[in-house]
């Protein structure tokens, strides 16, 4: 074996690299557990959420109810499991909106340059000038509270984020030689963007998507906390925290578990994003 030859074949070393990245592994495990919890909740929950057992209301954590029960006697673990669907769905669709609108916008700006680029960037500035949370509250309050409007409100603010990331990424790919070669062979800008630019910026978009996913979960919990997200009886983590607030004196555990669910989910996604960034962009490794 000569010097400089990789010790492991490439595919194996990628797996090893991934497994030795602590952020990535922990993030993956947490995210998988949360996703699994949401999936399982479709088929099985410890209790029936629609079954209100008044005799069991406000029970502290016990073997029967691991996380206790709420003021209607509903099992809190069950509510957290079902609530995870709502958080994940809202944040995921909001990221989807941001990507579907933002990435083409950013790629278009990078491909055309000139005044189109300038216009797209100024559009971004304008959206960024609106404090996102305030505008989300405005949108949901005006068009009515509910999960769909929360998705739109959070999604709109993902658009400039993805536009910016896609543009910056695309700008760094355009001067490359293989792009030049593609242009010389007569390919149009749209075709080059699809064939060469997008595959090369997919990694940074994935990382940004993970981060926006986490931010979306935080934003959704804030909106449902002020009563503008998912509406009862659909359980949501933010709404559960709101309900717990007035019972802080007697049942502090009601505020503990939904909050922990949010923190753990967001933490898992952020760690996953960090790990992915390290793995996909070796230049940035250990710099953050």
């Amino acid at each position: 074996m000569s010097i400089g030859e990789p010790v492991f074949p490439r595919t194996q070393s990628v797996v090893l690299q991934a497994l030795s990245n602590r952020s990535f592994v922990v993030g993956c495990v947490i995210t998988a557990i949360i996703a699994l919890m949401a999936l399982v909740s479709f088929y099985w929950t410890p209790y029936d959420i629609t079954n209100l057992v008044v005799a069991d209301k406000m029970k502290p954590p016990s073997w029967q109810h691991w996380f206790g029960t709420d003021h209607f006697g509903r099992d809190i673990l069950t509510m957290i499991m079902i609530g995870s669907r709502n958080s994940i769905a809202v944040a995921l669709v909001a990221v989807g909106i941001g990507m579907c609108l933002g990435v083409p916008l950013g790629c278009w700006a990078a491909a055309r340059g000139g005044w189109i680029d300038e216009a797209v960037m100024r559009f971004n500035d304008i959206v960024f000038a609106f404090p996102a949370l305030l505008s989300a509250v405005m949108i949901t309050a005006i068009f009515g509270p509910g999960a769909i409007n929360a998705i739109i409100a959070i999604g709109i603010f993902n658009v400039p984020v993805f536009a910016r990331v896609a543009r910056a990424g695309a700008m760094s790919i355009w001067p490359r030689e293989y792009v030049l070669a593609a242009r010389a062979s007569g390919k149009g800008k749209a075709q080059i963007t699809i064939e060469h630019i997008l595959p090369n910026i997919a990694a940074i978009l994935l990382v940004q998507g993970t981060i926006q996913f986490a931010l979306g979960i935080l934003a959704e919990s804030g909106l449902s906390y002020v009563g503008l997200g998912a509406q009862p009886p659909m359980p949501s983590w933010g709404r559960m925290l709101f309900d717990s607030q007035t019972r802080m004196m007697v049942a502090p555990y009601q505020a503990l578990f939904p909050g922990l669910a949010i923190v753990i989910t967001v933490l898992g996604l952020n760690l996953l994003g960090d790990g992915l960034r390290d793995l996909l962009d070796p230049r940035l490794r250990r710099e953050r």
């Binding site: 304008i126 005006i142 004196m249 952020n270």
Partner: protein
């Protein structure tokens, strides 16, 4: 430098104008007639028509837009339909709660984040670095309103040191008012501090790898002095950018925190105004916030030049 600033100023101005059109248009297409909402469903058509003309709702849209903009420039934000007092009075009355809240949390967040970031950077790769960055990772993930609930439980319910909510007003004295603001400020500051500490650390790490830092160390300047004098100053640009963004976030972030603590601030004002369809109040507060975001970003641009003299020459 002046060309750079002139360009930024122009962009800021255009941003505010476009934003005003967006705010006006969005609230224009909102379902529901404010006059009808004020008078109730049983109002006679005559009373409705009188009120509509009093409120200027019978004017064409461009006229109303221009008179709204013109009024705001003169400090006249119109009259609230539910509070029946000038919007500017409401903004001032609520602003004296929200602004100190945002400022206190910004100070707290900076005071925590910058030392932590520098400390972590200077101990790069060691246990102290890993622990402080792990803590910031958790801090970023905590929703501020949940952290607020935990604070209420510990300091108001359990220790009974601080009030759980409400605001006595500045007239009750500085100390009681400050006591009412301290928990909301901490709750707002913590997640911001976590973000800022991470930014500070990575900016410091970048700078610490530069040649002039090695030169300074080689000349025998003590480590501590190199860190605070040479490195920090050069690491300030990304830190300032985030600080500018965070101030805007803090001003708007009060909307949820003020609801947790029942603080009569701008966030609560706008929240109540939205639910009561008091659109003129919503428009006024949102425009004020957008304008302050633009101004803060401009100030940050000017500070860049102060921190980095190269920018003064370059542009």
């Amino acid at each position: 430098m002046s060309a750079f600033l002139a360009r930024r100023l122009l962009i800021g101005l255009v941003t505010v104008i476009v934003a005003s059109i967006v705010v006006f248009a969005v609230l224009e297409i909102v379902p529901g007639d404010p006059a009808l909402l004020m008078l109730g469903m049983n109002a006679t058509p005559e009373a409705l028509a009188t009120l509509r003309s009093q409120m200027g709702l019978d004017q064409p849209i461009p006229v109303r837009y221009l008179s709204w903009i013109g009024g705001m420039l003169m400090g006249d934000f119109g009259r609230s339909w539910t509070y029946s007092s000038p919007v500017i009075d409401l903004i001032v009355e609520r602003g004296i709660v929200s602004l100190p809240l945002a400022v206190i949390s910004l100070i707290l967040s900076t005071a925590i984040a910058i030392p932590v970031g520098i400390f972590a950077a200077s101990r790069r790769g060691r246990a102290a670095d890993a622990i402080s960055m792990g803590a910031t990772q958790v801090g970023v993930a905590i929703p501020n309103f949940w952290f607020a609930l935990l604070l209420v439980y510990v300091f108001a319910v359990w220790l009974r040191l601080l009030p759980a909510g409400g605001f006595p007003g500045w007239g009750a004295g500085i100390w009681p008012a400050f006591k009412a603001l301290i928990m909301p400020a901490i709750a707002l500051a913590l997640p911001q501090a976590a973000i800022l500490a991470r930014v500070t650390r990575s900016a410091m790490l970048e700078v610490l790898g530069e040649d002039y830092i090695r030169t300074a160390r080689a000349k025998g300047i003590p480590r501590r002095k190199v860190l605070w004098r040479h490195a920090l100053r050069n690491a300030m640009i990304p830190v300032l950018t985030i600080l500018g963004l965070q101030f805007a976030f803090l001003l708007a972030g009060t909307i949820i925190i003020e609801n947790v603590f029942y603080l009569p601030g701008l966030g609560r004002l706008v929240f109540q105004a939205i639910t009561q369809r008091d659109l003129i109040v919503v428009e006024g507060v949102v425009m004020l916030l957008v304008a302050s975001v633009v101004i803060v970003n401009l100030v940050v641009d000017i500070l860049y030049a102060v921190v980095d003299p190269r920018l003064r020459v370059k542009a």
